[in-house]
Each structure stands twice: as C-alpha cells, then as structure tokens.
C-alpha cells in the first residue's frame, strides 16, 4: 500500500504544479516498559501509520501530512502541500535550489538477532524487576527505576525523480537508575548511562548484553556512598571523561554546531545558531591534533541510532570528516543547505521523527575516532585529575560556545591511581578551548557507540535518536566546580 500512497501523492502534487515532490510513508511501532520500586510503572504499545508529503511549488517549500490513507485523503494532503508551498512563495526571496542527487530503488534493514516485539512482555518485565530488586537490596536506596524501549520503523521514501527506498529500522534500549535521598541531598547512579540507558539499532540482544541485574547492586551502593563523599573541588583541573559523558560532550559541542541549517540561521528562533560560520570551514583549529571526529551513518561505523542506508530525502549514508587532526573540515548538510554553500552534494543527514514531521538536518553518528591509550595507562599517566562518569546535567548556549556539564559521580586521580569518590562533579568551558585541551584518547578497546534517544530540534519539535562513538579521554586545564560555586 505504501507504494500506492506515494504514487497518488506524487501524481497529485505534480498535477497541482509542484516541480519536485517526495513522500515518506512510515509505519512505527513502539513498546515502552518501566518499573519503579518493585512494580510495573508504564506498560504500553503504540503504532502510528501515515504519510508526509514535501513539495516545491512556485520555488518554495510546502509540507503536509495525514493518516487518512484513502486515495481521497492522500490526494487532499498532496494538494494542501502544494497550496502551502504557494503561500510560502509570498515571502520568497529566491527559489529553493537542491544539490543534485541520483535516484535509487533499494531496500534495507538493520541487522538484529532477536525481535524485541516477539519477546514476551512478562520476560522483559521480569528482567527489569530483577534489577530493581538488587538496587533496593542496598540500604539507603530510596528509589529504584528501570526502563526498556523498543521501536520498529518501516518506511518508504519515494520522490518525483524516481527514488523508491524501503527501509526497516529496529531500535532497542534499556537502563536502570538508583536514587538515594538523605538529609538535604538527592544522589543517583545510572547504568549503563543516564536518561534511559543505552540505545542502538539492535534487537533484544542489546538488552541481554547489558546484564542490568549484574550492575544493579553496584550503582545502588554508589548512589548511597555519594552522600558521604567529598564535594568536587573548584578551580582549573585536568579531567578525564568516561566514554558516555564524552559522547554527550560531542553531541552538544560538535554535533549541534556543525548542523548547516543552524549555521545558515534557519534555527535562529528556537534551537539557535552556531559559532561555526562558513568562513571557518577548513580553517578553524577546532581541537588538538589528536582529535578526529566523523559523521558516519554507514553500518560499518556501528549500528547506532544514527545509522541508516539512506537519509529521509533519499541520499545514501556517508562518512563525513568533521574534525581532521584538529582542523574543522565538514558540516552536516541537506540537499538545500549543501547547495547554499556551494557543496556538490548533500552529506545525507536529513531525518524525520515521524511521518507527520518535516525532515531536517539531524546528527547521524557523530563519533570521535579512538586514540591509542589503554585506559589503565591513561590513569597511571595522570598525576592529579578528576575522573567524571555518567552525565547528570548538560547545558550550552545558543551558539554552542559556552557549556556546563555535571556528572553523577567523580573520582580523584592522584599519582596515577584512582582514589576517593567525589560528589557533584561539574566542568565548564568554551567549546574550541576545551577540544584543544585534549591530550589523550583511549583506544578502540574502550570505544562504545552510545545512543542519545532524546535530541530535540525544530518547530514543531522533533525528537531524534543520535549516535556518538567515544572512548575515555583526558583534557587539561578545565574549569571545574562552577555549578556549585557560591
């Protein structure tokens, strides 16, 4: 049926005057399970089917979407998209231009071993409750939480230039959190990451590999122990970030500023703009010489939340060098923005949350290449530093210069050894100064492709999953502790 809907939409759009049209038909199924203090919290399944039609008419964009999937419903939606484009043309300055792209007819599905929707719900609940029980076994844990999310996205992209691309993406994710309230403090620890755990394009085998129950007691004990830990000190320090925190640092201070729609002002009202104005391309020293970052949507990079075969305007997945030996070398682009800065081709990073949202530039897998250090050697090589693990809060300005992060837990590194626990660690800085202070990155053995499932952008807001490969890394002379300074 998806092919029929696409054909009806494109035919109607062309007949109404569109010079270009593309369609995303999407069938999305999601399962959410959460547990709290030994009981099931949320338990739901959702399915959503519809189409979004994007057209250029009169030199301007129009987009409309519907879940009324009769011939009449689809044709009305396509006609509305054209009418909207013609209204857009009232405030037009110049015609929309797209970087050229070939047409493709293809099918793709990410590999996975176990379909999470075929795993009995009671088995999934039991797994979460087992971890919950281990967390609550720790005296002082006041709140134990766990969650799983599974999402299957089947989609057809079709365009008036002849593309017909069918893709199926299976996402899985899970995590647990132990919280301890005592006195005037709330402390928490998460595994394997905060804000929902780890998420990938994968099947249920991802959840099984996390072995949540095996880590539950440890995070419970750490949440309680944080109450008696020393406060993280203030002042300039060497810091070592674990891979998950470095992944979020990449997301906020590299992934967002390289979005070309931000750079060109299209997000100025909401998500903001970027300090990475176009004259800085291939000139700005973004980071130290050992910093190499790529935007890689290809499966060979890993099965991350930013992995696909084609983006949502029919451009094949690519690997774009973003930072090369410290030099800023690339943006995330769409067909329209690539054309606007004179690039020959889109970087293939346009994605949509669902059928009823306009596709836009989103991060794919924005990853830092592994370095050469063994983790043990990095610690042994560090005389005085703070090791920070697992994000607790994150904030960055609307041009992506100034950031502040805090993590759930910190550890003192003294004389090459991991020492006492520190609570309330935080660090802040200016993006390029920070990345230029990086002097050690751990090797492939410590590199994980983390998933960030909750990246918000656009109006109407869209939530998208992004991937960030990272291994622990060391940064010198970073401002520490400003979040709790009096």
């Amino acid at each position: 049926m998806m092919n029929d809907w696409a054909a009806w939409a494109i035919e109607t759009a062309k007949r109404r005057g569109a010079t270009y049209a593309d369609v995303r038909a999407m069938d999305i199924r999601q399962r959410d399970i959460s547990t709290k203090n030994g009981e099931v919290g949320a338990l739901s399944e959702t399915e959503s089917l519809g189409i979004g039609i994007r057209v250029i008419a009169g030199g301007s964009w129009g987009f409309s979407s519907t879940d009324r999937l009769t011939r009449e419903g689809v044709q009305a939606c396509a006609a509305e998209a054209v009418a909207i484009a013609k209204a857009s043309a009232l405030a037009k300055r110049e015609d929309v231009a797209l970087a050229p792209e070939a047409s493709y007819v293809d099918t793709w599905q990410n590999p996975f071993l176990k379909d999470p929707f075929r795993i009995p719900v009671e088995r999934q609940i039991d797994l979460l409750l087992a971890a919950d029980k281990e967390m609550r076994r720790v005296k002082g844990v006041t709140l134990a939480e766990g969650c799983m999310t599974f999402r299957r996205i089947e989609q057809l992209f079709a365009s008036s230039t002849g593309s017909q691309i069918h893709q199926i993406k299976m996402q899985s994710g899970a995590g647990i959190v132990a919280t301890a309230f005592s006195g005037n403090e709330i402390q928490k620890r998460s595994y394997p990451n905060s804000f929902g755990g780890q998420h990938m394009l994968a099947g249920y085998e991802l959840v099984e590999s996390l072995d949540l129950a095996a880590h539950a007691q440890r995070i419970g004990e750490e949440a309680v122990a944080l109450h008696s830990a020393a406060q993280c000190p203030e002042g300039p320090r060497t810091i070592i970030l674990d891979g998950s925190q470095l992944g979020l640092q990449i997301h906020e201070s590299i992934g967002h500023p390289i979005e070309l729609d931000r750079v060109l002002g299209m997000e100025a009202n909401f998500a903001g703009m970027s300090f990475l104005t176009t004259e800085k391309l291939r000139k700005l020293k973004y980071g130290s010489d050992i910093v190499n970052v790529v935007a890689d949507a290809r499966l060979e990079h890993g099965s991350g939340l930013g992995t696909f075969a084609y983006d949502d305007e029919g451009v094949p997945a690519q690997c774009t060098p973003i930072i090369t030996n410290g030099l800023f070398t690339g943006y995330l682009s769409s067909r329209e923005t690539a054309s606007a800065i004179g690039e020959k081709r889109s970087g293939g990073t346009v994605r949509t949350e669902s059928w009823n949202r306009l596709p836009m530039i989103r991060m794919t897998n924005i990853s830092i290449n592994p370095g050469t250090w063994k983790y043990e050697d990095l610690i042994a090589d560090t005389d005085d530093a703070i090791l920070m693990e697992t994000n607790r809060s994150w904030s960055i300005d609307d041009r992506r210069y100034h950031f502040q992060f805090s993590t759930e837990i910190g550890w003192e590194i003294k004389g090459g050894k991991k020492g006492r626990m520190l609570k309330n660690p935080s660090y802040s800085g200016i993006t390029t100064e920070f990345w230029n202070s990086c002097d050690a990155i751990c090797s492939r053995d410590y590199w994980t492709l983390w998933g960030t499932p909750n990246c918000g952008k656009g109006q109407p807001m869209q939530t998208m999953g992004t991937g960030h490969g990272a291994s622990p890394a060391r940064f010198r002379n970073v401002k520490v502790g400003a979040a709790f300074a009096k």
Binding site: L43, P120, Y401
Partner: protein, 457 residues
C-alpha cells in the same frame, strides 16, 4: 468453506470527524476486558516558519490518536493506534488486554470512574480554527518586510491548530474537550545582538505579530555591540518569560508521587516557610488565561489547588492512586494510566504584583535585565539549583536606566533562594517560553542572582 470472520464485510476506514463519540462506544464494545477506557483525539495543526526574512518551512498535519486502556484481573496496560479500520481497532483492544494480562497484579490499581460532572471551559476559537497558510504567510511577510526595512533579520514561527478529544470508559464515564491554539514567536537579529518576543492564545485574533516583531526589533537594536560584564551576583530583572522558564522547573515537585518517591525538593518541607512572603502559587485550569481540559488522565474533574501560600508550600496534587496511598483526596491532576509519575500541576498561576518592568529598572542602581533564558537544566534536585544561559536581549541597568547590551551569562541559581529574594513583582500575565509550558506568571526583580560565567556573544 471460508471461516465466518472472512465472510464479514470489512468497513472502510472511517472519517473520525464524523462522530468521535460513536467511535469511542464502538471500541468499548469491542473489548472483553474487565474494564476498558478509551481516549481519542483528532488534531489539525499548521506552522509557518521563517528565517533570513523568508518562509523556509511551512507545514500542516492531520492526526488521529486512539488510545485504549484495559483492566484484566487487577492489571492494566495501554495500547494506541492511529488506524481506524475494523481490524486495527480489534487489534488495539486485544493488545491492551494482552499487555495487561502479562504482568504482575497492581496493588494500587483502582476501579475506573463512573460518570463525572465537569465545569465548562470555552477555549475554541473559530477564527483560529479557520486560519490558513495565506493568513499566516501574509502576517509573516509583513514582519519580514519590517526587518528588511530596519536592516535586521527575522526568524520565527506562526502556528495555529485545533484538537477535539473524547474520553470514555466502560463504567459510563464520558468527557469531551475541544481547544484551539495559536502561537507567534519572533527573533530579530543584528550583527552582534538579538531580541525576542512570543505570544500564545486560543484565539489567533489576540496575537499581534507586528507588535511582537517591533518589540524584538527594539531589543536587538538596544543590545547592539554588547559589553562583557564580569560574572557575579547581581540584581536581576527577569521578564515574565524568563521567570516562567525558571520556576516551571518546580512543577513536578508538587506531585504527591514525587514526595512519596523522595525526589521532590518539597520532601520534608511541606508546611514550612521556604519562599518569600510575596510568593503565592495556584494550579488553576479554570483561570481565564489558562488552557487545558477540565479533567485529568483518568477523567477526574480538575480542582483549583493552592500550592504555595505566602511563601509556605501548602498542598500537593494527587492522582487517585497517590491520594489513596497518602490518605487524602485526588485533585484531578493524574496522568493517563499506567504511568510511574503519578500526577503534576500543569496550569500554574502565580500571584503577581503591580510593578512594571520599567519601574523595576527605575528602582535599580546596578543590575541585569533578562529577556529570556535558554537550555536550563537541573544541577541539584533538592536545593533546586538550575543552570542555563541568558539569550536574545540581556542588558545592563545602571542608576535606574538601561545603559546597553551585555554578553550573555551562564547562571547557576537555586530557585528556592531566588523565590526568597524577590523584591518586586509585576502583574501575572499569560507567558510562554521554550523550557516550560505556558503559565500565568509575573516579571520579577530578584536580588543576589548568581551569574557564574560569561560567553562570547
């Protein structure tokens, strides 16, 4: 011989606009669960987005959502779809029952409610519902031309939409709601400065895009060539949108479940003086400047609740299950079941004062005037320390006058301390930001606000 099921003539997908009530009844009849609840909404939304003085995105959507909750032997679960053919409706009903069946019994689960009485609210505007792309494009074109003329750059959105929803259950409860919503938000940029303004209403005729653009334009012009000011503790004059985005972070602390879970900053503090005497807060869905349904996710009628009384956190809000656990009565603030969060006040109305922002400025020897805030996150959940940035119009105030723009600050500020340091309050107005939901909130003059670092613009 074909099975009987295959002989049944399939119904065509229906147009749900025809009769949502009938669709709800039909779904309930399909269910064999002990109890069944259905929520259906149908929405139409459109948004015209502009940047660089031109429309660059222009979108519309028609959406339907059907959500079914089943109760089977003391267990409950939810399944949702947007498909209306017979097979899909049967599947969503069966899915909810099957999910419910496959879990442990829920000791906190209460029987579904019977029919309730709801206070009427009128929040549907024919003008908003009838707004079309041409109306929005014409308004945006005027704003873009204003910006062109002033050698400035405009970016923003103009949106309009409507939603109709019904909630019904097998015990006879039936609730119906309809609402429209319009929003105009504009950022005006110059080479090294910017200004912002935003307005929302159920009635599009109450929104004046040109006036909002003019206000943003003035802020951009007045903050031109910003100076870098040392970070530190300043008297801060926070316009209502900035106040909203900060104090919106308190909303879940007033949930009974948050206190039960010991993750509220009010744990152990209820009934004790926590904020200044001049701070009073209600949750009131019936306030004329508020929007939203007069019933909660289980169909309980919403009540007006006094949350802070002259600086003393006095009451929480409760879903039915939380109220039973805490030996009190539900207030009509529960989320749709099943969920782990319980409830929250979503219609905050803060007590205001009578000072204008101009009077706040005039009374300030040295301070910082803030238009809006950005990327606010919680640093310390019990002391309620928040971090974030100023954005789109931050000014130095000296000797009772705004003397120019300053580079944007990062703040690390306890909201509890902030609400103990409020020196002046403006009238409470309907405000809208980007970090919290719309509320009725005043501008505030706050002493000793902690701007901890400064950025590069």
């Amino acid at each position: 011989m074909k099975p009987a099921k295959a002989r049944r003539r399939p119904r065509a997908p229906l147009d749900p606009l025809l009769d949502l009530d009938a669709l709800a009844e039909r779904i309930i009849k399909l269910s064999e669960a002990d109890e069944t609840e259905v929520e259906i909404h149908i929405g139409s939304d459109a948004l015209t987005r502009f940047a660089n003085n031109t429309i660059h995105q222009n979108v519309a959507e028609q959406t339907l959502g059907i959500s079914v909750r089943a109760v089977v032997d003391g267990r409950t679960a939810r399944s949702s779809t947007n498909k209306t053919d017979d097979e899909s409706l049967r599947r969503v009903v069966a899915s909810a029952a099957q999910l419910a069946h496959n879990q442990p019994k829920n000791p906190d689960l209460l029987p579904m409610l019977t029919r309730q009485k709801y206070q009427k609210v009128a929040r549907f505007s024919g003008a908003t519902s009838a707004a079309n792309p041409q109306i929005r494009a014409r308004a945006v074109t005027k704003v873009c031309r204003m910006a062109d003329k002033a050698k400035q750059t405009a970016a923003g959105i103009f949106s309009s939409g409507s939603v109709h929803e019904v909630m019904a259950n097998s015990k006879g409860l039936f609730a119906r709601y309809e609402q429209t919503r319009a929003e105009f938000s504009v950022t005006i940029l110059e080479e090294n400065s910017s200004g912002w303004a935003k307005s929302t209403s159920y009635d599009i005729r109450e929104i004046d895009p040109e006036a909002l653009a003019e206000s943003a334009s003035q802020k951009a012009a007045n903050s031109r060539n910003p100076h870098e000011l040392d970070p530190g503790h300043y008297t801060a004059i926070l316009e209502s949108a900035a106040v909203l985005d900060l104090i919106g972070f308190l909303f879940y602390d007033f949930a009974g479940t948050a206190v039960l879970d010991k993750r509220s900053c009010l744990t152990g503090r209820l009934g004790k003086k926590l904020f200044g005497e001049n701070i009073t807060l209600w949750d009131d869905v019936y306030h004329p400047l508020q929007l939203g349904q007069p019933f909660d996710g289980e169909g309980v009628p919403r009540q007006k609740v006094l949350l802070i009384d002259h600086g003393v956190p006095r009451n929480l809000v409760y879903s039915r299950a939380t109220a039973k656990k805490m030996k009190t009565k539900p207030t009509g603030h529960g989320f749709a079941l099943p969920n782990e969060h319980g409830e929250a006040p979503m219609n905050l109305v803060w007590g205001g004062g009578d000072k204008t922002v101009g009077e706040m400025v005039a009374s300030t020897e040295r301070g910082v005037l803030v238009t809006r805030l950005w990327y606010i996150r919680e640093v310390d959940p019990y002391n309620k320390i928040l971090t974030g940035m100023t954005r789109d119009g931050t000014f130095l105030v000296e000797n009772g006058r705004v003397t120019g723009g300053i580079r944007n600050f990062r703040f690390n500020q306890s909201v509890i301390d902030m609400l103990s340091n409020v020196e002046m309050l403006g009238p409470a107005v309907r405000s809208s930001g980007e970090e919290s939901f719309d509320m009725v909130v005043p501008a505030m003059k706050v002493r000793n606000f902690h701007f901890s670092e400064v950025t590069k613009f």
